[in-house]
Amino acid sequence: MSDDDRRKLQSHELHSARSTAAVIAALLVTAVCLYFMFEAAMKSLGQDVWIRSPGEWGTWLTGLPDSADPLVLAAGSLVVLALGLFFLLHGILPGRRARHAIPQERAIVVVDDGVLASTLARRARTQAGVTPEQVVVIVTRNHVSVQLRPTSGIGIDAAAVHAAVEDEIRTNHIEPAPAVKVHVAETGVVGQ
């Protein structure tokens, strides 16, 4: 595989394909099209239209805002605006998944941030000598936040925990390497 293909495949693994939004958009467009086809068919068969024929919809549209209740018009517009922004943002935002990459020669390796967090939490916990319940690790793309609650009466060396977590990130070759922030709570908990 060429480097280009590898990079492409890795970026596919790290970014959302926007399938869900695409399916929602397709269903919406299909529904609108089917509705207008239904009305047009009713009209051409000489039946009573359901709500309005396509032509009458045109007249209704040019007659706005007098042809509709202003409250209904505003509410409907808000819904359309919200849906529009939803689709637009899904179209233009990068859509990064909560994953990090690990460089590897043969394969493309991606790690969910949750897996990474549990690894870092284990390292922080063993370094600080506390139970799993006393550690919370949050991993985002560029930051790792380690929150520790010390056992009452026993201090925690925050610098040592910081170094240990950074070492764990380095030994796992996490890409891009996030910055580590360690926070030790003021109050302790009763140890086990």
Partner: protein, 204 residues
Amino acid sequence: MNRTPRITNRVILTLLGLFMTALGLHGLLLAAVPSYAAGWRGLADRVGAAFTRLLEDTTLEGQRDSWLWIVVSVVMIVLVLLMVWWMAVQGQGKTGIFAREFREEGTRGIVELSSAVPEQTLKAALAGRPDLVTVSVTSWSVPRHDAGLRVKVQPRLGAAPYRIAEDIASLVVDMDAILGAAGPVVIHLATGARTRMSRAERVR
């Protein structure tokens, strides 16, 4: 590794998003700003009149309605079909055949490796590992390459990701030599319900 048309998704979503955002803003302005509404009425009257004239021009003699409506219906049908296609191609690309080769010499014929071969091989090799909760392997057809493998494993809480990745990759390299096909491989270390329910990895 699937063949979801990512660029198509982005382009259509952006266009539809822009259109609906504009439509929503237009409706809100109509409801809230009287001067904007007055401007719209002036424009709408002219456009409406032009459209009515167009409809009259396109009505054939003896017919009740313009043939433009037929064109509109055809466009709508095409649009619906396109949307169905768009939905159908999301996430496509899984394959049941890992490799296939036509043999000229000896016994002539086609040799086919089902995708179950690499899948079961990798699963069996990883089955005994204590630091993995689940392993799932799927094969994907990749244009211009041998079939790709997607190895999704759920490591136990606290397991070391790099070590797992290296071990799986070395298994894959061994398997390349045995099967004679070396397509792209994605190793995904994932979290899931099973990880949270199972006990944590002991320190090694």
